[in-house]
Subunit: 565 residues, 2 copies
């Protein structure tokens, strides 16, 4: 029997924060050693953060990262952790052409061991790795007390052939993979099935350690795990929190003992938590401690406010009601009720005097006058942001963003847009889920989020709900003219969201959409709206990707584009 | 003697406009035939437009493009042009894996001849071709009446090896390259030297046909040319206009006769014209016929207004003076004079009443109050845009954009930003150049721009200058508080622009900048400003790339990024 104890260190790093990332690595390595681990495995590009994008092209960055890895190896040894095998990701340099490489290194005995370089460089969807890295060209096996550990980095296990195929011939005892795999709905199972396949291929257990945390428009969900050679799930770490879990592997045994396996989170909770974590980490990594946003009484701003309260505590949320002459009293009440439920700060800023002042000069009509109202609100939200150092939140959803059903520089202002990747029907679903979660005892601030220490866990709003039921059930309206309803301009959301999913997420064309059974008028309307709104989307704030295809770098289309099929 | 007459068809296409691009190809092919050409060469991805980005991933698009190529071949034959060899670019499909390919096809005798697929897929800078295409893997030689024409697409000639190296072994008579090479300063000479090298390599003349026109943030400058096997320049087409030039090549001769060689445009004129064409084509391709912008009396808005007048004629430019309590009378006069010089529409909208209305509610101070003024102006500019269907122009320059020295949703509003890639020092230089050009007889509307038929060529402003000299010579100020100067917050532009060029365009780090001799305080200030403004740049409008490294897809850096070295 040759027992090896692994520690899966699922940590949240920040791009470019070399010192802080190294400090955290040291801390987790010490905990791993205290727990008896011989090997501790960290996520892809641990020291540099991930994804680093064009920072890879800066020579001073590569040099500093190299120094960080060396310093960390020394510090580990100085702290008595030299015997531990510390597997971390960082940036390396191709010796032949000087290009950056996505590298795994092993810190041991005070030195940085020669590493393994990522072979397959993802360059689809949100990924641009072929842009910045050169490919590694050899597989690596690490010997730990006679046990043979094969190494792979993220995309290496998603493609056939390459290093995993090579390792399959090398009689390895464990396949260790370090990952920076962003969250999207349904990916937990995809990863598991993938690792089962690779385990069968290499005839050995597979360890999958994933990063956790928000990084701009990506949210890494952690959810690290291990499978046995026969596909049995041996370990699963929780999602959306930093974690250190141990797993014992007997490299001479044909079958391993099952360790700690956390239940998979409910799908709605996953998406909700991803949005909360995306926001939370954007704030932490950019130095914000509070947010401000317009509260219209509608469902979008209500959900965003609830997410913000879950991220940082209701007392750090500044809600601003900005009623116009067309705002219903119900909407104003709903906004106030929401703020009370959340324990948020709440101000009312009427826009009618401002609207009148502009109209004295501009005499706008129709949509221009509607946009004016929205833009006055944008100015007010940004005034709060500037005056109080608050992160302004844009509250647009994916349906709205798709169709351009928003006012640029109006309701679209902000530094972060937490629900930009949620279709409207999903917004309602998550609002209902959040209220239900409250009833099930998950209080605001009680969600399992990295570093969530600002919230007031367990607050139970007097009304027994977080998001006022009115906001969920009433017909959606921008309230920019009397009696206005979203359905005046758009198909009903239940239909719209289906067309949008097909057109955007599945890249279907007009003929495909018609073959799906959508009627011609709806298809033509939706395609026209989506295509014409591209320029607005380009100027929309960042927000977390939670679907298979989000707007932003996941979907790169020209603004000047005449194709209508 | 085997004489072949080539026509170099340097055309402006629009992404996705399959029918219009095919119509234009047919028109130029007919002209080529009338001029006696046997071979007419069009730019890269003629039929689809370029770059198509993720449109490549839509199956209906690939199918429609295929149909377009076939229809065009039939139409050519029907029009009696079947004997002509028409070399066009389009999208193809990899037979093995179904992936899109960047393809050259030859239309002849009513059919689409088997094509050549681009081998090297650029995936750096502004290019994302590895993302969307698979690589071609064979070289192609076209036989035209016994003459052997080798084929290459753009990046194929920029890399060593690959198809050109293969063609060097195949005894070709001419190397034909079709290109979508975006403009940047100095690239004309780089391309020429490159083609001289390839000509020597294949022992044959090289034809380089480049696309012309603006496509979102890229401007293609045309400037097609041909070099002889010994590097002699045989032909050069004009820059920034559509063009059809003929060139005779005797495939049995060791040396060719020199044809039409246009002089290279002055460097300042190149950059100025690139900005004008970028704007012009953005308007044409997105259905705009007029623009609006704030005229502050400062140099940035003055230069943008002049460019707009050059693009579409002064009468289609709506200038808006929006003085505040801090605007100097000189600034107001300069704005009015500029509008008069350009023949632009000109309105004055005082912002003080609006500012006071906001301040009655918000009581802002300091920078927040400054931003409020800028945002009120943004609301006004967008009101003109919405009411009159005008394209709003943002007037920020690259220095400002780099340092975040602008108000988001304020002066940063707009659908296009013509000078976003010009450092402030370059803005002054081009303003001086434009005034001088007027004296040299280049009137407004008289610039050689594609499809420029809206301008009033030859207008000579009464003042003898286009941009008021005051706007060029006065110290730059945002005029958002009494006596404010840009130099209160920023290093002097002459210094700032040098640091910015090193940090941004050359990806230098802190140590490099200090080694360059810049003082520590300046370096730290500039780096901090640039890094902190990334979130604002993400929301900035599109504008034409004219430098080696523009903001936008050319420079992809995280917002959440703690690296400060």
């Amino acid at each position: 029997m040759t027992m090896l104890r692994f520690a899966l260190a699922q940590i949240d790093t920040c791009v470019g924060a070399l010192a802080a990332n190294a400090d955290k690595t040291l801390e987790y390595a010490a905990r791993a050693a205290r727990g008896g681990a011989q090997v501790v495995v960290f996520p892809e590009m641990t020291l540099t953060g991930y994804p680093i994008e064009d920072l890879a092209l800066r020579a001073t960055f590569r040099k500093a990262a190299w120094q960080t890895a060396n310093d960390l190896a020394s510090r580990l040894a100085a702290d008595g952790l030299g015997e531990l095998f510390v597997i971390v990701g960082t940036i390396g340099t191709d010796r032949e052409n000087g290009k950056p490489r996505n590298r795994l290194v092993v810190l041991h005995d005070g030195v940085v061991w020669a590493g393994y370089d990522k072979h397959f460089l993802p360059n689809y969807g949100v990924f641009d790795e072929f842009r910045i890295f050169s490919s590694g060209d050899r597989s690596v096996v690490l010997d730990v007390d006679g046990a043979r550990l094969g190494m792979a980095i993220c995309e290496d296990i998603w493609q056939e052939g390459g290093p995993v195929a090579a390792l399959a011939e090398q009689n390895i005892d464990v396949l260790v993979t370090i990952n920076g795999s962003p969250y999207e709905e349904g990916k937990t199972d995809t990863r598991l099935q993938l690792c089962r396949k690779r385990a069968a291929e290499v005839h050995a257990p597979v360890l999958y350690v994933n990063q956790v945390g928000g990084q701009d428009d990506l949210v890494f969900d952690g959810g690290s795990f291990a499978v046995d050679a026969d596909g049995t799930l041996l370990e699963r770490s929780p999602m959306f929190v930093e974690d250190l879990t141990f797993l014992d592997i007997d490299t001479k045994a044909g079958k391993q003992q099952v360790g700690s396996v956390v239940d998979v989170m409910d799908a709605d909770q996953q998406v909700y938590t991803a949005c909360v974590l995306g926001l939370k980490d954007y704030m932490v990594k950019n130095g914000f401690t509070g947010v401000c946003l317009g509260l219209s009484g509608g469902i979008d701003s209500a959900l965003v406010a609830a997410m913000a309260a879950d991220a940082i505590g209701g007392e750090h949320v500044q809600g601003i009601s900005m009623p116009s002459m067309y705002s219903s009293s119900g909407s104003k009440d709903d906004a106030a009720q929401l703020a009370e439920n959340l324990g948020a700060k709440y101000d009312v800023q009427a826009i009618e005097p401002l609207f009148n002042a502009f109209q004295n000069q501009l005499h706008l009509e129709g949509v221009s006058a509607e946009n004016l109202q929205a833009r006055i609100r944008g100015v007010i939200v940004m005034a709060y942001s500037n005056s109080d150092g608050l992160l302004a939140l844009a509250t647009g959803n994916k349906s709205e963003l798709a169709c351009g059903y928003s006012t640029i520089y109006g309701d679209a202002v902000g530094g972060y847009a937490p629900i930009k990747d949620l279709f409207k029907t999903k917004v309602w679903q998550l609002a209902r889920w959040r209220n239900q979660a409250l009833k099930n005892g998950i209080g605001i601030g009680g969600l399992p989020i990295v570093g969530n220490d600002a919230g007031s866990a367990g607050i139970t709003p007097k009304s027994g709900e977080i998001i006022p039921n009115n906001s969920i059930t009433k017909a959606p309206s921008a309230e920019l003219r009397p009696g206005q309803k979203d359905s005046d301009s758009l198909p009903e959301y239940a239909l719209l969201d289906q067309v949008l999913a097909a057109y955007i997420e599945h890249a279907e064309g007009r003929a495909d959409l018609l073959a799906d059974g959508f009627d011609e008028q709806t298809v033509d309307t939706v395609m026209r709206l989506v295509d014409r709104a591209e320029w607005k989307r380009r100027q929309y704030p960042l927000g977390p990707k939670v679907s298979a295809l989000a707007f932003g770098r996941d979907r790169r289309l020209p603004v000047s584009d005449a194709f209508r099929e």
